[in-house]
């Protein structure tokens, strides 16, 4: 083996030399600037956006890419925007710093901020992957080289996670042009001095609920403005602000966008408000109706809408511009499907019947159940939709139960049903389980008759753990949250709005610094760490995740007039 070593090594060196020359000639070949695409700007944005976000070439083929020299990847699996994010300002995750990729930033010199220096964690691992200390500005030629060969203008190689893209000149030109236009101008409603916000209230909301929403919102705005005053005094007295402080204080204002009349007219009303005085984001909001017209407006305008109080959010896997607390009623239906799917002793042929009140809430609960039940590969269950008056007719209900003999019964109804529930349950087999929604039954949930409480399972989408922090320590741990029957029916408008403002939203607004782009606000919010909340066990984020509370307990009631809530499931059932 030793003897053969030199003979093996020599051809290898020859190959390396040859390839080095080849590399140099190839680099010079590609150093030519890609010509500007001969296309209208709108078309460049459309094609470039598709390359950037979906990894699809203008031809419709996937963008080829390579990682670590030889790991071939399909850019439709993960694209430029997976790491550099939609606004192109980059990200930090898993120790990898992804730098900005907009023309604004690339065509300027870069100097690494001290906060992203080489820092080791407790186990000696680098907290951040090492990034370049500084680089000169890119131009179109060096940018094309960077995308193709993974080197910056000084020849420094990128981190291995950055793919290399063998793009043809025309495709490269479209992509570079797109990057030059990406996040070029600040979004409407934001300037270096001011953030303008609005909140949305529809005319089906009670005065009490309206105030519960507005109090924390207006307090938040007042606080921001008060802090700005203090910051200005701070400067006046000769103190030097930190980099973070420079961006954290701006004047803030809140408009109230009142929507009146039928939901079909809402989008027009919203457009009038937004055209008159555009806002950077919609903070909260409240409606008792389907949120869809507002959701669709925000999608079309690319306008962030942060955590409205609604039981009827749009359930979408691709919706981008609205953050919801959870999926509302649908999440409770979904929780029952997951719970039943995990039950060891539920025979596959047990008849499951959904009795659904003919109402938006009833339909949303049933749809949430059906969707999830279908996703886990179960056959459709029998669904019977009844009016409110049919639901309080014991004879009509008894007839349905006699006919279908359900082993599991889902009652997606209001509280009017509860008085008949003991008699109905008495007609059913001993193994019977009945599921109801605490959000739909409201305060009356606590009045479920004691003799049937062992049969009735209740969806409860809020926190049960009494301690927000750990029981033994931490700032939040001192006051236990004693959730009980008194909390049924409480929509928690003020507490949820306060929490979303003071935790998720404030953090997002502070972290965008001077990059005043709506997309960037969503990018940074989606990369937040989990938050522990007062009303929910946990908020979790992630690119594209828009329902931040994923949980819903299945509970039963303990005995007595003020029953204990007994969890029968985990917060999230998988």
């Amino acid at each position: 083996m030793n003897l053969s070593y030199p003979t093996l090594k020599t051809p290898l060196l020859m190959i390396e030399l040859f390839t080095l020359l080849f590399f140099l000639s190839a680099t010079s070949l590609f150093a030519a600037a890609p010509p500007p695409p001969n296309l209208p700007q709108g078309e460049i944005m459309r094609l470039g956006e598709r390359m950037y976000r979906e990894g699809v070439l203008p031809s419709g083929a996937p963008m080829p890419a390579f990682i670590r020299g030889d790991v071939e990847v399909d850019s439709t699996a993960f694209s430029c925007s997976s790491c550099h994010l939609r606004a192109g300002l980059g990200s930090f995750e898993g120790g990898v710093i992804t730098p900005p990729t907009t023309g604004n930033k690339l065509y300027k010199p870069y100097i690494r901020p001290p906060s992203l220096g080489v820092i080791a964690d407790r186990d000696g691992r680098d907290v951040y992957a090492k990034t370049v200390l500084e680089r000169p500005p890119y131009n179109r030629e060096t940018l094309a080289t960077a995308l193709r060969f993974g080197t910056d203008p000084t020849g420094h190689s990128f981190n291995d996670v950055m793919p290399r893209y063998p793009l043809a000149d025309n495709d490269m030109s479209i992509l570079i042009n797109y990057l030059e236009l990406l996040s070029k101008e600040p979004s409407p409603g934001a300037s270096k001095d001011e953030f303008r916000f609005a909140t949305i209230i529809t005319d089906d909301v009670s005065q009490e609920d309206r105030q519960a929403l507005l109090r924390p919102l207006q307090q938040f705005i007042a606080q921001k403005n008060q802090q700005l005053g203090m910051y200005n005094d701070f400067i006046k007295f000769g103190y030097t602000p930190t980099a973070e402080m420079k961006y954290a204080f701006r004047r803030a204002s809140l408009d109230i966008w009142e929507l009146k009349g039928p939901p079909t007219t809402w989008q027009k009303q919203l457009a009038a408000y937004n055209n008159n005085k555009p806002v950077f984001a919609v903070l909260g909001g409240i409606s008792n109706s389907d949120w869809r017209p507002i959701h669709d407006f925000c999608e079309a305008e690319r306008l962030p809408c942060l955590f409205p109080i609604t039981d009827f959010p749009v359930i979408s896997e691709t919706g981008w511009y609205t953050y919801y607390f959870n999926k509302g009623f649908a999440q409770e239906g979904e929780a029952v499907a997951r719970y039943l799917n995990r039950m060891e002793n539920l025979s596959a042929d047990t008849p499951i019947i959904q009795i659904v009140q003919d109402s938006p809430a009833g339909r949303a609960l049933a749809a949430g159940f059906d969707k999830n039940w279908n996703e886990v590969g179960r056959p459709a269950v029998t669904t019977i939709t009844l009016t409110a008056s049919q639901l309080v007719d014991p004879a009509a209900l008894a007839k349905i139960l006699t006919k279908h003999k359900p082993g599991v019964l889902l009652f997606w109804t209001e509280a009017g049903l509860l008085q008949n529930l003991p008699a109905l349950i008495a007609r059913l087999p001993a193994t019977e389980m009945v599921f109801v929604s605490s959000s739909y039954l409201g305060r009356q949930t606590a009045n479920i008759a004691e003799n049937i409480r062992n049969k009735v399972f209740i969806t409860f989408p809020y926190r049960l753990n009494p301690y927000v922090g750990t029981k033994t320590g931490g700032f939040d741990a001192k006051i236990p949250i004693l959730t009980g029957a008194k909390d049924f029916g409480d929509r928690r408008i003020a507490s949820r709005t306060t929490a979303m403002l003071q935790q998720a939203t404030l953090q997002g607004l502070n972290m965008i610094y001077d990059n005043l782009y709506r997309d960037h606000l969503f990018d940074v919010m989606s990369m937040q760490m989990d938050l522990v909340m007062r009303d929910y066990e946990r908020f979790s984020f992630g690119p594209g995740q828009r329902y931040v509370s994923k949980g819903c307990y299945i509970i039963q009631l303990g005995p007595g007039e003020n029953p204990t809530l007994l969890p029968r499931s985990e917060w999230v059932v998988q």
Partner: protein, 194 residues
């Protein structure tokens, strides 16, 4: 079109060459990842795979087939896609030689990663049978992370890690960092003894 083909051909040649160079230098001195051999005690827990089926974790780590484990999540940016690209490339290379491997990805975002999301993730990467993606309760996922000395309190602070189980003695080769597909294949071959 001629430009496109020329570009791609040149790029592929360069990629091949740079892989040769990097593999050589990796052999010679510094690897871009850290390799150790470990013993792990796997907790006796039941997780759920991409088909919604329950899977007893210990049952995956028996038999003569080498097993490779990583921790990822369905909506991850940056390192999970790279780890998954490594998995799918390895699967492809071993399929050519007829060698066996069982790939197991365990989510670190159990609240969001439902079987549906995991199935779509695998489909997106064109995973072949033999690559499973597992979710479960947060408590169980935490216990698996702890068992592999890979516990992180939040998914946003995770790091690239692959672990290859040697079927001969049940030991694990722990690979911390991002590998080229050639390095990954070599690590696999070192475990199977080739």
């Amino acid at each position: 079109m001629r430009v496109t083909l020329k570009t791609i051909v040149l790029f592929l040649l360069l990629a091949l060459v740079s892989a040769t160079l990097s593999a050589n230098s990796a052999h010679a001195a510094n690897k871009s990842y850290k390799r150790t051999v470990e013993k792990y005690t796997i907790p006796d827990i039941v997780l759920v795979n991409q088909d919604g089926k329950k899977v007893r974790l210990q049952s995956l780590f028996t038999g003569d087939t080498p097993v490779i484990v990583d921790f990822i999540y369905g909506t991850c940016t940056t390192i999970c896609p790279v780890l998954s690209a490594g998995f799918v490339n390895l699967q492809g290379k071993l399929a050519v030689t007829g060698q066996k491997v069982r790939l197991v990805s365990i989510t670190i975002d159990p609240e969001n990663d439902t079987p549906k999301i995991m199935k779509e993730y695998l489909k997106r990467y064109r995973a072949k049978p033999g690559w499973d993606f597992l979710t479960g309760s947060r408590t169980d996922i935490d216990s698996v992370m702890r068992a592999f000395n890979a516990y992180i309190p939040d998914k946003m602070s995770h790091y690239p890690l692959n672990m290859i189980r040697n079927p001969k003695d049940g030991s694990w080769v722990r690979l911390f960092g991002i590998m080229s597909s050639r390095e990954f294949l070599e690590e696999y071959q070192s475990v199977v003894g080739k």
